[in-house]
Amino acid sequence: MAKRKNRLRYLVLIFASWWVIYPIATSVQESFEIDLGPLYSGRGVSFVGQFFQGTGGLMPTAINYLQAFRIEAWPRLVFNSSIIALSSVSIALIVGIPAAYSFAMYKYRGKTILTIGLLALRTISPFAVLVPFFIVYGQLGLFDTFQGMAIIYLVLNLPIVILMMRGFFKDIPKEIYEAAFLSGASDMTIMRRIALPLVIPGMVAVVLFAFVATWNEYLYALILTGARSKTVSRGVWSGFGESIQGFKILDFDELNTAGTLALIPAIVIVLLVRKYLVRGVTLGAAK
């Protein structure tokens, strides 16, 4: 009985693991190959729809990576993404932590409404934000700048910071706050000397989560960045979209190289914060 259950379990898990690994592995493999024919997808074979287009042939190589670094200025995109993500997350932390502390520590009317309001930020269509910012950034000269991107990504990062940090503040036993309060400490002292030092591990997790979310974001980057502040996720696609639109030869190998390079840091980070993963993806609703 128990054995049969375990067999079923392994069957499910092995299939699911294959399902997860397959697209990523394909991408990684193709990034190390070069197609010998045009419009080929990195497999040496091409179909359009169901129609077989012919075979070209493959050559194993690392030239795609060289290209990514030398020609496509990949390090530059990583730099852009990192600066934008880190500054946006920093602003979100500075304005979000006091709010998270307030949500966690005090009882007052309107807190539920505020929470729902914060979550409702998520329902706003990205274009309802993009169009006004598109116009305003054009006028203010913030289009395609780090500052502009850091500001717009607050839509993403502020709820992450507030709701996750709220959970970490709540994790500290209430008696610890009370002991500090009775010791004569003011609210600000308690926040600074007791609460903040105790949530540092959580804060690191929050920073990493918000970083990954920003790193992976695509739509805002697609419309609001250009040559100066192009991000990694936009760079992944530009080879594809821009070459199709520009009737250039579509080079899937480069695409897969860019994709692989974009995935690595995000995957490493997510595996690093495994312990806090559930809290991260549920915005602190589950532990």
Binding site: K5, R9, V12, L13, A16, I21, P23, S27, S41, V45, F47, V48, G49, Q50, F51, A92, V95, P98, A99, F103, Y106, T112, T115, I116, L119, A120, L121, R122, T123, P126, F127, A128, V129, V131, P132, F133, I135, I151, V155, L158, I162, V212, N216, E217, Y218, L219, V236, W237, F240, G241, L255, N256, V270, L271, L277, V278, V281, T282, A285, A286
Partner: protein, 296 residues
């Protein structure tokens, strides 16, 4: 005596107003105006944009997008729910290599949707699969990805690839929160695994407010889906409005970059607001129940 709790909120509320309320207000004014990027003067003209979107010139593409979006939301969230719960159940307990499987199965949470969009759209992995079918089986068959049933399935499965792990993690958290005694009690009373599942496990999962909350978030996010259908637009009517993969977000992107229209920002704002209103009604209704996860 204590106004500190409100003072602490001021910075965050200010930012939320700037990045949330301000653009919404701006969009509302824009949607009631005539606006051209070449003459950046906003002239309020009334509800004509709304009429155009809902009943007039843009109505066919708008309603097409409503249908596509709804199909993707319902399909993706349903698949994610089922697959996520199954994976959560499979990962629950102590067994060999659990930690390895866990690490593999959470990887999609790190993957940028745009990367998966590329990978799942033609041709990257599909050439692989079609080659296998074409040569490997010796039957000379291949999947026609341009059939609606095929590409909708792929889009939905790709979304599920990204987000089923989220439901899996929530299910796992719920299962780990069930007191051990409940399982032991069921076992002592001679309950079969199926009975334990029906009487202990399944109700805990279904009744969990956290699952309800996360599903609400998933619906909200799926409603805005962009990257995966976007990758498909290059194969399915890149320049036509109203293609079968035009979700609301893709439609608005097409309008923005269209060569037919000259930056129809007012129309885009109108569509953005109407689609936001639709999902907001759902969200406020759902969050009133599920936001309980944040009450004390």
């Amino acid at each position: 005596m204590n106004r500190l709790q409100y003072l602490l909120l001021i910075p965050a509320v200010t930012v939320a107003l700037v990045v949330g309320a301000y653009p919404i207000l701006f969009s509302i004014i824009l949607s009631l105006s005539e606006f051209s990027i070449t003459t950046p003067e906003i002239q309020v003209v009334g509800v004509q944009n709304y009429i155009s979107v809902l009943f007039g010139e843009l109505a066919p593409v708008f309603w097409n997008s409503a249908g596509v979006t709804l199909l993707i939301v319902v399909g993706a969230v349903a698949v994610e729910l089922v697959v996520g719960i199954i994976l959560g159940l499979a990962l629950f307990g102590n067994f060999r290599a659990r930690s390895l499987f866990y690490s593999i199965l959470v990887v999609p949470l790190a993957v940028a949707p745009i990367v998966l969009g590329i990978l799942s759209s033609p041709n990257v992995i599909w050439d692989d699969i079609n080659t296998l079918l074409f040569y490997g089986t010796g039957l000379g068959i291949s999947i026609d990805l341009f059939q609606p049933a095929a590409f909708y399935s792929v889009i939905i499965l790709a979304d599920a690839w990204l987000w089923a792990p989220l439901i899996m993690l929530v299910t796992l958290a719920i299962l780990q929160g069930i007191p051990k005694e409940h399982f032991e009690a069921a076992e002592i009373h001679g309950a079969s695994s199926w009975m334990t599942f029906r009487s202990v496990i399944f109700p805990s999962i279904i009744k969990s407010p956290v699952l309800g909350f996360v599903l609400t978030l998933r619906v909200i996010d799926a409603f805005k889906s962009f990257e995966i259908p976007f990758a498909w637009t290059f194969w399915l009517g890149q320049n036509d409005l109203g293609s079968p993969v035009d979700t609301f977000s893709v439609l608005m992107w097409k309008l923005l970059t269209s060569s037919v229209y000259d930056f129809p920002l007012a129309a885009i704002a109108t569509i953005a607001l109407i689609s936001t209103a639709i999902i907001l009604v759902f969200a406020v209704f759902a969050l009133r129940y599920t936001a309980r996860v944040y009450s004390d």
